[in-house]
């Protein structure tokens, strides 16, 4: 059963059906909402846009759930999907190694050249010790997401899963649809 949901696009953020007010758009909107709804995780500013979108969506989702204690737990998994993988980070990193005369590979850019860094960041922040995976598929496909969700719940330890879509083309074009799913009602 879905207990909470968050939708983020470049100009709109909706938590459990309620639109969050904001002034900015695109990546500036992400920063604005980080400041107003999170604020205690400076690593946010080092993230690429894909990570920022996924991280912020997870924070809003978990704030909606409430009672956050950041204690280690093994019963929660994070399983996300997208179509663009880590394209923006890949392009940015490529720019640091493009010219032979200006060849300075950036470690901070390289770190984000895998999409599953998003699920890792969410797990590290919240001390989720369960499954984390990030799958790249052709397009948003609810059936694929639901199938993988059902598979995750086959694990007897997993009681809840943060799942959904987290895609980013660039700083101004991104989309996240994250859901908090509880196992009990899936039985």
């Amino acid at each position: 059963m879905i207990t909470h949901s968050v939708i983020i696009t470049s100009d709109k953020v909706v938590v459990d059906g309620q639109t969050l007010p904001h002034k900015e758009q695109g990546s500036a909107m992400l920063t604005e909402l980080y400041r107003s709804h999170v604020g205690d995780y400076p690593k946010f500013f080092k993230m690429d846009t894909l990570c920022k979108v996924g991280f912020l969506a997870s924070e809003l989702l978990l704030n909606a759930e409430g009672d956050r204690n950041f204690e280690p737990r093994e019963d929660r998994a994070v399983i996300l999907f997208n179509r663009s993988s880590s394209l923006q980070a890949d392009t940015h990193y490529q720019s640091t190694i493009q010219e032979a005369d200006n060849f300075y590979p950036s470690p901070a850019a390289f770190v984000y050249t895998l999409p599953n860094i998003v699920t890792g960041e969410i797990a590290i922040r919240n001390k989720f010790m369960g499954e984390t995976s990030f799958m790249v598929i052709e397009d948003y496909d609810e059936q694929t997401i639901m199938q993988n969700l059902a598979n995750a719940f086959q694990d007897p330890v997993t009681e809840s899963v943060i799942s959904g879509w987290c895609d980013c083309m660039d700083e101004e074009h991104f989309e996240a649809k994250l859901f908090l799913n509880n196992k009990l009602s899936n039985r």
Partner: protein, 85 residues
């Protein structure tokens, strides 16, 4: 040296995306890692790249970083003695 320290602070803020920080917020004698600015291992690698890019300094032994990155003041001293650009 004061000018180099100020420039270095600005370059560190930019290279490490230390949002909301200004050069004035960084104590040049405070530890960069651990208690100080709370930087991590990726930040250390980024500082190594920044020193090479801006000052032409190539660290032959990454372990040197532990000494050099003690504080902005120590970094500035090392850069002033070893810079090639």
């Amino acid at each position: 040296m004061d000018e180099l320290i100020y420039t270095l602070k600005k370059q560190i803020i930019e290279a490490l995306n230390l949002e909301d920080m200004t050069p004035e917020d960084i104590d040049e004698n405070a530890a960069l890692f651990g208690e100080g600015l709370g930087l991590d291992s990726i930040d250390a690698l980024e500082l190594i790249v920044m020193m090479e890019k801006n000052y032409g300094i190539k660290l032959k032994d990454p372990a040197q970083g532990k000494e050099i990155f003690k504080s902005v003041a120590v970094m500035a001293d090392f850069i002033s003695k070893n810079r090639t650009k």
